[in-house]
Symmetry: C2
């Protein structure tokens, strides 16, 4: 039985007759294969995932192939990428989708596409910050209290100033939904996030296989306890959306790397309270 994902924060949603992603109860995510080159490009990318080193491959959703399933828009059977559902197993997930890179268009793109992307990059925070937040959802300690859910509007999130990003990040990891975060809690969330972002950065400093355009970093954590393999599970960083991955032709992905470093700097710059209990070595 396929259903609409409960916690999707960016992209087309499979509601009101729109073609969008679906999930099942076994932890799989069904992403409709776009009919043009974007679909084949994303499928091809997932098929080459095995060429990526093990420690980095874990940042990508597991790929289970392509399958024809009933489309959410009622148009009948449609090929879907079958992926790991990153949010399976969460009760109260807090999710943030950050589109990385000051440039979302790739060199070989059609002029009309370049024009549209450039306009969006200039209107949003991408040109200034090297990234834009595409979606965010944060829940309070109790899921039953709807007032404790914070899901700012996309238009607001996409064009934040540097100061606003700091506020939004603080609020994303606050234990009570206020902008002044509980430092122990925020540190518990952002420590593993920072560690994972720095590991990604190391890879992007050297990899000359792919250039990732319009790709997002997804940050997910459980508001409350989440146990995995008998241990409390920490925040997770994943990469999603590979419809615009192109051949690196021998150069590093300076566009992604620059944006990633910018995001890292914001995480490191969280109000001093967040990090003050943490030693230099750990952060």
């Amino acid at each position: 039985m396929l259903r609409v994902p409960e916690h999707q924060v960016a992209g087309h949603k499979a509601i009101d007759g729109v073609l969008g992603p679906l999930v099942d109860d076994s932890g799989k995510f069904y992403k409709p294969l776009q009919s043009d080159h974007r679909g084949s490009n994303e499928a091809t990318f997932y098929e080459t995932l095995s060429s990526i080193p093990d420690n980095i491959r874990s940042f990508f959703p597991v790929f289970h192939g392509i399958k024809e399933v009933e489309a959410s828009d009622g148009s009948g059977l449609h090929p879907h990428l079958v992926l790991e559902d990153i949010l399976a197993g969460y009760d109260n997930p807090c999710v943030m989708d950050v589109k990385i890179g000051s440039r979302t268009w790739y060199p070989e793109a059609a002029e009309e596409y370049v024009r549209k992307c450039l306009l969006k990059d200039r209107e949003s925070s991408s040109i200034h910050l090297g990234f834009r937040i595409s979606g965010l959802k944060s829940v309070g300690p109790s899921k039953q209290d709807p007032s404790s859910c914070w899901q700012p509007h996309k238009k607001f999130l996409q064009s934040l100033s540097a100061d606003e990003v700091k506020l939004v990040l603080s609020k994303f990891v606050s234990s009570d939904g206020n902008a002044d975060p509980d430092s122990a809690f925020a540190c518990e969330v952002f420590m593993p996030v920072l560690k994972q972002l720095l590991e990604l950065k190391k890879w992007f400093e050297v990899q000359t296989i792919f250039h990732f355009y319009s790709c997002s970093v997804l940050v997910v954590y459980e508001k409350g306890e989440r146990v995995m393999n008998g241990k409390k599970a920490g925040a997770v960083v994943k990469l999603v959306d590979f419809a615009h991955v192109v051949d690196a032709k021998g150069a590093i992905d300076h566009n992604f790397l620059g944006g990633l470093c910018s995001l890292i700097k914001f995480v490191q710059d969280l109000p001093s309270g967040v990090w003050e209990s943490v030693s230099e070595d750990e952060c």
Copy 2:
């Protein structure tokens, strides 16, 4: 007595009635102040240099103020920035000018300027590599032999592929002008270059004061012995051209940082012969 610099590899040259930079015998470089906002912007930047940490300030030419001197185009007295002449004291300098960043236009620029820069970024290697080589001059061991001087055409340099960059870098540090460099010699040149680029990178990962658009990294070394303070002087990395430096507004300069990391990767990827005698710690 002011004269035309002998080893300038990029920018307007003070010949044939053109307004361009001049040098004197005391080691000063006179850069005509552009009459529009670019001139005042560059002057303002040099005046704020003191706010930059000592170890990083040494990457910038020393600033000696603004002075009216006879312009090279015969138009009479014209205000010039008086700067350190980076090439003073060299006999056979090899020089490379690398314009850093995949984007050379800044967010607030006029539309016509954005359009022109974007076109140039797309036609050159900037979009793909995150930088373009704006000029290069390499001399053989003997200055008296003109055949030993290699100064490729700007059009060729600006639009190199990744493989061509590797060749050009190899040739830039070869002891005999061939693309297969003498590894000991090339290592001697590029070791201090890599060290300085990595130091710059560290600063760009954290500084949120300036965004440097259309700024260049200049790499200079002496083909032959150059003694400074009784010691053999190694290759030097400098930053030049600050007419388009803007307020960072709280974000790191992801555009410059990305391009810088791309250049660093090319230096690290020089043919294995260059680095094989060098331990991991040193490189």
